[in-house]
Amino acid sequence: MGRYILKRLWRALITLIVISMLIFVIARVTGDPIAYLAPEDASEQELAQVRARLGLDKPIYVQYAFYVGDALRGDFGNSLRYNRPAFEMVLQRLPATIQLSLIAFIVSTILGIMMGVLAALRRDTWIDGALRLLAVLGQSAPSFWIGILAIMIFGVHLQWLPTSGRMGPEYLILPSLTLALFSMASVMRLTRSAMLETQTQEYVKFLRAKGVPESQIIFKHMLRNALVPVLAVLGIQLSHLVGGTVIIEIVFNWPGVGRLMVEALLNSDLPLIQAGVMLIAISVVLVNLLVDLSYGLVDPRIRIE
């Protein structure tokens, strides 16, 4: 187990380093930061002073080190448009995004697993067919379109649910369900095929030979074994979900980091983008790590090395 944890920690670290390098490189590629840090009519000498002050005259790896140091302190600079610390702005919006994706994560995981199990147990019946069609539809329809249709039907037409903003719990329903759809479809398909896979295992045959009731075989043994591969991809599902919030936030006017970043993108507000990307990356990597570690709880082969 110790070795497994170390491996996962290592991977998380590498991921964060790579993303920080990407951000850094992109910030440099997009132009001389001096252009927007110094007054427009600054002289060559003044520019050099600013450069020296910001460390921009140093070699690139020193600059990167400075950048990482700043990032670790939460200093990504001020938003160009709002002239407020970018990190703070993102931090303010983060809870809304986390709330949305977490609820979608829970909904999609639980429903996905339940539907997958049902489809596998009713293999080749109309239930299986319907669930599989639903799943492939869920993986095919763009979430923004589903969102718009939902707004059209439940908001504009039926007027059952609010469609924009984040005021009370009822504001969460449409966005989180829309967001959950794609992930739910993936989890369902994976659960279904994992369940079918376990059905062919020798130990299932042996359990039947022992006279263990079918319900116990399914819910105690097959389900737990099927969850092993499902759990392995939940981390990936979660990053899909966090990514998906960006679009959902736009559709439903949800005040999260995603919308903030897209706005920042349209305004070329680089510090804000950097802070947003870094913070989202960190939260995704952390949650991924948690999911990976929970793997050991299910599978004794990893727990006991």
């Binding site: 590498i14 991921t15 993303i19 951000i23 539809l137 718009i148 993936s186 990936i236 899909h240 989202i280």
Partner: protein, 296 residues
């Protein structure tokens, strides 16, 4: 009996299932969904009723022909500038197809080469490629897209670059795993014993056996690429007006939800149908070719 040198000729095992059921087992639903997209994608300009970019301010927001106020001249109605929706959808099909196929092909090429090299040679090449794949897998796609968008702005290049950067890793991961297992097969070992070069082993023994996996992956990825393209266009980083793409049409139509519901509805429907078609086709291929793949 001295059946040694001239032993019996065993009966060959019965071949594949008969050809009879073949027509019926084709994925007709998928074919019906994909056929219009492919036809429009290839000969789009020949089929326009109107030029998709011509603004016709006399006919703004016309509903589809079968509704009150619609006209046969604009079968699916018009947008806020009076442009014919059907013609714009056809134009969108072309753009979507080019981007999806082009991006996926480039990604497949990079990913397959990387995956084969990684799985076959192992060592440092493998460590680097695996690490890169790992990093990609644990990051949300949208972050990469935003970073690319931040670096080079919106447009076709951003979409293509995003698709390639996002998808190569999927190929590399799957192909690496398959190559690893193929490498240990008896026939690869025997090819080495027969003095076959690495090139020969990779092209004659490994690549042909990856074919099924590649085809299935490409099919499924085309669907995902269309979705990604639509999403990128939707957040404004993709195809820029006045050119058009399906995602952009949904985005533009979104403002007219209350007055012209058909604008976002039909363009979204086009995306969904196309992706659904490729997904169904891919699933069918996977079963037909019997390649083992996770359903992600």
């Amino acid at each position: 009996m001295n059946g040694a040198i001239a032993p019996t000729r065993e009966r060959a095992s019965p071949g594949r299932p008969s050809r009879k059921g073949k027509w019926r087992s084709l994925p007709w639903l998928a074919i019906i969904m994909l056929a219009p997209v492919i036809i429009f994608g290839i000969c789009g300009p020949l089929l326009y009723l109107h030029d998709p970019t011509t603004i016709d301010l006399l006919n703004p927001q016309k509903p589809p022909a079968w509704l009150e106020g619609g006209s046969a001249a604009f079968p699916l109605g018009t947008d806020q500038f009076g442009r014919d929706l059907l013609s714009r959808l056809i134009e969108g099909a072309r753009v979507s197809l080019i981007i999806a196929l082009g991006g996926v092909m480039v990604a497949a090429l990079i990913g397959i080469v990387a995956g084969m090299a990684s799985g076959y040679f192992g060592g440092l090449v493998d460590s680097l490629i695996s690490q890169a794949v790992d990093v990609k897998m644990s990051l949300p796609a949208i972050l990469l897209i935003i970073l690319i968008g931040a670096a080079i702005g919106g447009g076709m290049t951003t979409v293509l670059a995003s698709i390639v950067l996002l998808f190569w890793a999927d190929y590399a991961r799957v192909i690496r795993a398959e190559t690893l297992s193929l490498r240990e097969r008896g026939y690869v070992q025997l090819a080495k014993v027969a003095n076959a070069s690495h090139i020969r082993i990779l092209t004659r023994h490994i690549l042909p056996n990856l074919f099924g996996t590649c085809i299935v992956l490409v099919t499924l990825q085309v669907g995902r690429a269309i979705l990604i393209e639509a999403s990128i266009s939707f957040i404004g980083l993709g195809i820029q007006p006045p050119a058009t793409a399906w995602g952009l049409m949904v985005y533009e139509g979104r403002a007219y939800l209350a007055t012209a519901w058909w604008l976002p509805t039909f363009s979204g429907l086009a995306i969904t149908m196309t992706v659904l078609g490729t997904n169904l086709f891919g699933d069918w291929l996977r079963d037909a070719l019997d390649t083992r793949q996770s359903s992600l």
